[in-house]
């Protein structure tokens, strides 16, 4: 049984480092979508201000099992509160990441369970997954996740960059 433990996001430097490792790892496997990069200072600012934009759980392993590069923080879950006028408080899991060499040991499941357990006042947990990412889709389906895009037809839509600026410029004065 693989030993690991989940702790709250208590050390911004180490935890932001884990997020950057995820970004580098995933960037190799995904088509780049946009040229955005969330710099370390923004992550630290936004996760540790008075009203943080997100919260994070990290998975750490004992020193003797550390990665080749010496990391003991090998995974994390980043999430924030959302709201539904139908159902009330909800949680959105933005990132669930485990370093490739530590997968298959129940760390992802452990992080997911911890997120669901810690915030029991929420009525639902939501996330998104890429349609070609079959292992992840199967993983979430096995945990009871429903694919609302397939079952109900929900699509994510986004404004960013110049289109977001243009939309904002049309706003009337309050």
């Amino acid at each position: 049984m693989f030993t690991f433990f989940c702790t709250s996001f208590c050390c911004p430097g180490i935890s932001c480092c884990a997020i950057f490792r995820k970004n580098d790892d995933i960037h190799l496997h995904m088509c780049p979508f946009g040229n955005f990069s969330c710099v370390r200072l923004e992550l630290q600012r936004d996760g540790f201000c008075q009203n943080p934009f997100f919260e994070c759980l990290v998975a750490e392993i004992p020193e003797e099992l550390k990665s080749k590069e010496g990391f003991t923080v090998v995974g994390y879950a980043l999430y924030f509160y959302t709201y539904s006028t139908w159902k009330g408080r909800s949680l959105y899991l933005e990132d669930l990441y485990v370093m490739p060499e530590f997968r298959g040991n129940g760390i992802g499941k452990g992080l997911l369970c911890k997120v669901a357990e810690v915030f029991k006042q929420c009525v639902r947990l939501q996330l998104s997954v890429l349609n070609w990412n079959t292992p992840s889709r199967d993983f979430y389906a096995a945990k009871g996740g429903q694919d609302l895009t397939v079952s109900e037809g929900w699509h994510f839509v986004r404004f960013d960059g110049q289109n977001l600026d243009n939309l904002a410029n049309d706003a009337p004065k309050i």
Partner: protein, 165 residues
Amino acid sequence: CFKLSQWAGRAPAAPRHRLQQVMAVFEALPAWQRNLEQDGFSKNPFFHGIVAEVSDQHRTKDGHTKIGYALYFYSYSSWAGRAIYMEDLYVMPEFRGKGIGKALMSKVAQLGLAAGCNQLDFTVLDWNKSSLDFYLSQGCFDITATVGYHCMRCKGEALEHLAQP
């Protein structure tokens, strides 16, 4: 002619009530009313809102002057940083086609940019072609269709089961 105001004080029951009447045939009405005020008006609210009001002379047959709203909250992306998510955008049917929906959405975008957000996200049903066409005409893109993201949800017994160690 309408004006927008930020949602403060009591929840605008009128527009939501009308939406509930329409949607009641599809979903059980939620016990939202007792939680909405607590969740929206505490020190750290779970959401923010903007209400569209018309003048008294343009009020509805039932006497409502609050005829639309947008409900949003802040979200986050470890790729892009701060973002804003628009959960609801609603205008009473008799007031549509007058630019009120666009004005509400623009105001959400403006407030989001002012708060340092880089993205405005929301969801729309694929069969709701008129809404999808409207949003696309305003310059957004469909992430599900172009990039392949699917919305996933875990609730009820599945969520409780997930929370078990």
